[in-house]
Symmetry: none
DNA sequence: AATGAATGAGCCTTCATTCAT
DNA sequence: GATGAATGAAGGCTCATTCAT
């Protein structure tokens, strides 16, 4: 190894411009959306020259796309991937996935950006929307359909499965999407980890009951008669 | 002919400039949100001179506020007011309200503007958000809490009531808010009146089952007496 | 006639912004070409706000196109149109046309812009070039071919006619195109009207001799034998 | 092997950076002119880092000047130098020089750069114009004056000599300068070597006839003794 | 009540150039 | 010599707004 005395730069603080830009852009885009955000604000926020977004990313849209791509793979996503891959029994996996998504959706820090960005995509899609959905939303959507399908003993393409999937995802996403409304009609609500866990539990319980209602017979034990899978 | 001296105003000019502007603005704001909409586009769409938004409304934000205020009272809202005031038994009123909201949320025509505008407020609140929520969202929210509270035999302020209310509203609003995602992951879905009725039925059924699950007394075995309060 | 006392605004000085912009743009574009000219400079030169080129013309290229279109019809062009339509015998019409073109090409004032603009088009064509050529250059070109064809007793499409036409036009255009070179290698040359007349006479005489050389026999008197028209 | 101590430079590195830059710059400048060309494009085209133009040449203008200086002496110029120095009789030398210039002016390849660059200088002079003219144009100009003076039996400073010189040079340069116009009004024209030779012949014949006409003695009847001076 | 013209600030982008290594 | 990153100025354009009529 090289001499540890000489030229020992701080090893964990490279914090290069590209990263600073991605960070600032993530924050600003998550706050204001693609259109309303200005590269000036982003650069000011990152403390770098305005011409650097052109140098590092080409233009505003590519910076945005990169922010999206980057935030998909952010560390916080591990929890979702893990929940998607869970081998637990359906109901348990179902609870896990809801909790993971809700955590992801409610955190305002780095890993929470992605869903906040998506909220803006919902209201005003950009050219990047399609890939965002495909890379971020669809895996969750498909896993939910799988789980719900198995619980209802229906194929993932069945109308009831899709509607139920929407019902579940809607409840989770709501806390990110409608957070301004929620915090106005229920100002006391504070989204700390305990609360989030509690809400996740509520959603899971509420939805599992809804699913059982939709399943013609009390599921699992007697998957017998009508409307069954294939 | 009317008296030529009194400068009798045209009694009911069916489309004066102010109205044309409000109409056009409603459409454009509902499409693009406050920020992304331009007064030029609105005026072009209304076929009036660009200086008139300033003359009639002061500035863009006041035009927007006026659009919101105006659209709250729009005729199409009758269906929601009626559903809110329904005297039917709770479960039936609950179904009615869900259907009314969903209809309102999914139609892109004139009376649907208001909710579309709110979708944009969610992603990017304007100074007008507070009053929008208070005038539009809270009545629905409070009525749902009332209904759910009565079904769960809990006060409207109880955590479980609030969480359940969010669960219900989230499912409805989802079809407006996430419509781009929905139409990507489920392209075949077409929101015609029949479909909307079917979705409303699903949400009501799904949610009522969830509510029964949440009710303090284990209702699984006896889903009968659901109306205990305190 | 209206009262000469009241409201007598200066009749010949409307000088509206559009015109001021066209004037300034003509000057700046003629000086620097399309690319190198900046709309900021044009607006500063016209003494108007920079946003007005967008308001009146849409964008820089349309302003440029308008300048070209405008300068084609400028008053100074009458002399060329007159020369093109001259009914004099070919040699005389030939002299007239050369003189008219040379005058047009050498004046730096308003009507001279057009050819100066074309010089820039030559070095660096813009999307407007095609129409510029068709509207400005081709009529002159075709008339020269006609005249030369009749003097050589050949069709206007004959190679010799085309080459000779180029030879003539080249000599005229040269004084505009290569003016910087000319004024460096011959600083004493001053392009006042007398000089221009003298140069025109030279070009005509020089070229008519060239044409006679190309015509197999001394033209006009004995248009007899070989290589004749049709 | 060479001595490992002396840091022997590579004797003739066929393509060092400086040369690569000069080459690329020549091409790009010839295409777009000084202003419109960007150093980025030049460096990309040369495959070198963008900072190297500053390192090697100081700035864009000095690179340009160097390109001009360099291209004057380019190998392809031999043909012109040879034509200038020709010891043939005036008419023959005249023909040679016209052909040499036309060749140089019409070819788009490496040795043709210099004249293409000059075309841009004509439309938009840079600070380098003066020296460009002096080094490139004036030798040709002076030689033409010499030849024409000797044919007209007048001093090179005589007005008629200068005007005639312009007439000749104009015809040659025209095919480079107005090439876009030419190719629009005469699309079939293709400037291959045979065509170029044919055009050169035309110009020479056309111009020699013009010169005879200009000569003080009425030469129409006796085109014989053309060599009177003073 | 309405208009066409005008304004100034701000947008994203790109340029030639220079810095630190 | 050579590099990648950084810089500040300027480019064309668009915005909400206001002026004079």
């Amino acid at each position: 190894m090289a001499s540890p005395l000489v030229k020992s730069k701080p090893p964990v603080l490279p914090e290069d411009t590209r990263t600073k830009l991605l960070d600032a852009a993530g924050q600003v885009f998550a706050e204001s959306g693609f259109q309303a955000a200005t590269v000036r604000e982003i650069c000011a926020c990152a403390g770098v020259n305005i011409a650097l977004v052109n140098y590092h990313f080409g233009d505003k849209l590519e910076l945005y796309t990169e922010v999206l791509r980057h935030s998909v793979g952010a560390s916080g996503n591990g929890i979702i991937k893990k929940a998607i891959g869970s081998k637990a029994p359906p109901e348990e996996a179902f609870r896990e996935l809801i909790h993971a998504m809700l955590l992801r959706v409610c955190r305002a820090d780095r890993p929470g950006w992605h869903f906040r960005l998506m909220m803006h995509e919902f209201a005003q899609p950009t050219p990047a929307m399609a890939s965002v959905i495909d890379e971020t939303m669809r895996p969750v959507y498909d896993r939910f359909r799988e789980l719900i399908g198995s619980m209802l003993d229906l194929t993932p393409d069945h109308d009831q499965v899709r509607l139920s999937t929407h019902s579940v995802i809607a409840q989770v996403v709501h806390y990110a999407h409608a957070r301004h409304v929620v915090s106005r009609v229920w100002p006391e609500l504070e989204l700390n980890p305990e609360r989030i866990a509690q809400i996740a539990t509520h959603i899971a319980r509420f939805s599992l009951a809804g699913l059982r209602q939709i399943a013609p017979t009390p599921t699992r034990s007697a998957p017998a008669q009508l409307n069954r899978k294939k």
